[in-house]
């Protein structure tokens, strides 16, 4: 019968010799399985004197514990090695990708439009809309442009064949939305109205027969020109960022009085003429059923397209309309 020390030594020799988990499993069967010398030795204990049996039993138990530890330790080693081997075998070059990213792009006009909406929504405004084919009344009449007034010539209006000639047109500005909002909504009013506008124009780098504007309208109890100037300034800071400021210059629009142009000064000191604004003309308030003695308002409007060009460094308006994916995909 083998000595317990020999059994341990033999187990250690075999465990070290095992190089895979499968081999080790076989070793485990050989050294501690049912037919192993260890089990045989334990069975043989029955034939010993009680004193000797106790001693030999203790020795065998100690050997069994040692063998288990040797096998477990070796198993941990081999498992770790197997894991390393497996991971190494599964290595991937993560740039080895044939599939192109399918990523859509919002049009630059939409991006600019949404950004403007967000700025004004943040300032407490709602967003209003109106039709692109508009009546002569909302585009001009309600806005204090009398029929045949020379100021109508400031707009190269496109008319459509609908109803009586000259009564239906492609809106030349988003200002008709002012009148539509005032007619249907009781003051106080704080709205912006982004939208598509039209004019009779030949397409070139800086002109298109179709363009986009955003209009702002505030009607409240004591709205003043100072409020307008402050609002333009607050918008300028919010949209353009720090270092930009604004100024108002007297101008003329039939639907506002006093009227002004507003310019944005860039941090380098240069000016950008952005849009027109003014106090809503009392005639316009009245035409929309609002008492100008009770309510005062201001309005402003400017082009979205040019802001988009500036924002993205585009130098030709026509690019916005080609639908060339090499253009659209850049933004």
């Amino acid at each position: 019968m083998a000595e317990p020390e020999q059994l341990v030594a033999e187990a250690e020799r075999l465990a070290v010799a095992a190089t895979t988990l499968d081999e080790l499993s076989a070793v485990r069967t050989a050294v501690s399985g049912k037919r192993s010398p260890l089990v045989a030795a334990r069975k043989a204990l029955g034939g010993l004197e009680p004193e000797a049996r106790r001693e030999a039993g203790q020795a065998l138990n100690a050997a069994k514990a040692s063998i288990d530890e040797i096998l477990n330790s070796r198993e941990a080693e081999l498992s770790a090695a197997a894991r390393v081997e497996q991971l190494a075998a599964e290595r991937l070059d993560l740039t080895e990708v044939a599939e192109q990213p399918a990523h859509g792009h919002l049009h630059v006009i939409t991006q600019t439009w949404q950004e403007l909406e967000d700025v004004f929504v943040g300032m407490g405004y709602r967003v209003a809309e109106g039709p692109e084919i508009e009546s002569e009344w909302y585009n001009f009449g309600a806005l204090n442009f009398p029929l045949e007034h020379p100021a109508r010539d400031m707009y190269d209006t496109l008319y459509v064949d609908y109803g009586e000639p000259g009564t239906t047109l492609l809106r030349t500005h988003t200002s008709p939305v002012q009148a539509r909002v005032m007619e249907t909504q009781a003051p106080p009013i704080y709205v912006v109205a982004p939208g598509r506008c039209f004019r009779q124009d030949t397409a070139d780098a800086t002109h298109m027969p179709v363009f986009h504007q955003i209009e702002g309208l505030v009607v409240d109890r004591a709205t003043s020109l100072g409020d307008l100037a402050g609002t333009i300034e607050a918008f300028t800071a919010a949209y353009f960022g720090p270092g930009f400021s604004s100024r108002l210059r007297p101008s003329y629009f039939p639907f506002t009085e006093p009227s002004a142009e507003f310019d944005i000064q860039r941090p380098d000191g240069s000016w950008l003429e952005l849009g027109g604004c003014g106090m809503v003309h009392p005639n316009v308030l009245e035409a929309c059923g609002i008492d100008p003695e009770q309510w005062q308002g201001f309005a402003f409007g400017f082009g979205i397209d040019r802001l988009a060009l500036i924002r993205f460094g585009i130098d030709d308006l026509r690019e916005l309309w080609t639908n060339d994916v090499r253009f659209l995909g850049q933004f």
Binding site: P101, A102, H103, G104, L106, H107, T110, Q114, F120, G124, Y125, R126, V127, P131, E132, I133, E134, S135, E148, P150, M154, L158, Y159, V160, D161, Y162, T168, P188, Y190, R196, Q200, T202, P209, V218, D220, A222, T223, S224, G226, D227, A229, G230, E233, R247, L248, R249, P250, S251, E257, P258, E261, P282, Q296, W321, T322, N323, D324, V325, R326, L328
Partner: protein, 785 residues
Amino acid sequence: MKVLLSWLREFAPDIDGDPQHLAEVLADLGLAVEELSHTGAGLAGVVVAEVLATRPHPDADRIQLVDVDPGDGEALQVCCGAFNMAPGDLVPLATVGTTMPGGIEIARRKMRGQWSNGMLCSVAEIGLGDDHRGIMILEQGLSAGTPLAEALGIQPDVLFDLEVNPNRPDAMSVMGVARDLAARLGVLFTVPAPPVAETGAPAAQRAAVSIAAPDFCGRFGVRVLDNVPSGASPRWMANRLLAVGQRPINAVVDLSNYVMFELGQPNHTYDLDLVPGGALGVRMARPGERLTTLDGTERTLTTADGVIVNRDDDAIGLAGVMGGASTEISADTRSVLLEAAWWDPMTIARTARRLGLRSEASARFERGVDPDIIPTALDRFAELAGALGATTSPGMIDAAGNRAEPITVRVRPQRVNAILGTDLGAEEMTALLSPIGFACDGSGDGQDFEVSIPSWRLDSAAEIDVIEEVGRLHGYSKIARTVPVTEQAGALTPQQKDRRRIRALLCGMGITEAMSLPFLAPGDVARAGLGDDGITVANPLVAEESIMRTSLRPGLLKAVAYNAARRTAGVSLFEIGRVHPGGGGRLPDEQEHLAVILAGREATAATTLWRRLARHLAVANPGVVNGPVDGLHPGRSGSVLADGRPVGALGEIDPQVLAACEIDERAAWLEVDLGALRGADRRLTPYRAPSRYPSSDVDLAFTVADEVSADDVAATIAQAGGELLSSVALFDVFRSTQLGEGRRSLAYTLRFEAADRTLNDAEVAQVRQSCIEAVTTAHNATLRG
């Protein structure tokens, strides 16, 4: 509107300071300076030279060789790109070493192998005006070699090119600009009374005016002048006219223009000998009446046009727009009738627009000139003409039509401050208004005051107009800026949020947003396989932009073709935009559509897209019903339903349409009327706690006819599956000869589960059987083994 600083100073001598600063002051007054330039400077080195000979350049057609005498009697060769000079002409020569007003330095250099010893100059090149059409031909009598500035009496000056708004007819004159500027600068402004030396028979005996259209002609003033100069106007006057962009013609024409630019009053001269009895009348034209205007064109008039007539009632001029040829001044003219009148602005605007005759005069008349400046304008003309040897008959004829009553406006100081956001006292307001001629009458002390609107401000008629003037003269930049506070929470509407959600979803699916012109050309709609053309534009610039789109399809087809032609096939694009399908009430129907085109993809890609979109927007019961749609593949098209109502179409573009658009790949299509979709019910499926018990999956494959919609089969399964069926999904479609012509296999995975128990085999088998029976019965289907 161009004004010279020296000219402004004739009305307000104390206008002074840095020109850049003056430009900023003008802008702050609402007279934006588009361009500020220094004239008459940088002319050292430019001399009068006499043309001796002109010769062709041996190697160039566009330039010639000109020999000039620069004053030393020697012939100097210069290459020149203009051909408007002849031997004997006097021309400006920029000698070698001169730095031109534009910054160009003149050097001796070879042009196509020929030496050029200087440069002959145009009006524009020496900074005297805009004219660059040829070399400036100088008046005879100057001596060669004289510095040009000395020869022409040119002084350095500052030119402001102003943008004048339509409500400021008064600023269409040097005088009006000077009035505003002087008021802001706080310096004295006066309109000099022109001294006129009168002689001979009184004007009243030599001329007469009758006004038969008093609403059209508010005032008609006439002076009679004799011995009018026939030659060129004096150099100083020509220089000023050149500077403001008016080409000098001759003394009489130049005088007329000069007075118009200076005082804003257009005026007209008639050859007195061609006007019998010096009698002028005003009436509206007769229908179809004909008149040959100064430009030699015969015009047919309407009753909306005003005419000047002679004693015989023959039209001799188109009032306020253009004179007639029959009474035109010529070199032989000795005596003239000088007319300065006030015309109804609207009538002038209509006539000028209808006849396409926009002139400096009509532009002023249609904005409204000052009827009270007429005598001054006549006198100013007479004064200037007198300096050139003309004589003036005593008195003027001053005929009156109907004039608007002078306007007085009551102004409430607290209203002024409320509108402007200022805190000005009544006295501060009147101090701002008085210098621009708005005479104020009131007690002061914050009380209301009366303002008399000056005759030159036809735009002003109400309190708000006066408020604007207070603000303008005070300066918008001085007004304290405040931001109004609203209790309203800013927000987008549900449909505006939807639009953003749709865009975000489609972008996330790799589809890029396009933006197509809403205008179409004739034939575009038909090419896209759609019905009739939509609303037409009444006055398009080009036919390509003459029809409003009825669908987003033509634009997106064009975009696919455009990209394919640039070697990008398979583009996925979407667009959200308004279309005008025709019909409507007071305004044409306007719909907002979403369209998606997936080039290179089959129709079912559009179905998948629609389902995702509907799911994303929580559209109740989204559906697809197979059926033909205009312009789509007849066997691969259908309508899109939301809660049972049609809201759009999907499928694949008809191959015939693709061919017509030169697209050689398939294209899946989805178009949804977003307005209709908004009207459809939106509903979130009620929450159900996920079952804690295992589910059972059952796969079923049926053979059905091609005409049977897979959606319908799924719906039948869903109904038969009842409570226990938690989902049904198509996972395979299969066709083979074994299945037979016109039939295919549809395989579905059915998942069964219950919230309160694990389903036993018998339960699953029973519901499975119900589903099978339902499908086989409803769709003439057979279960595949």
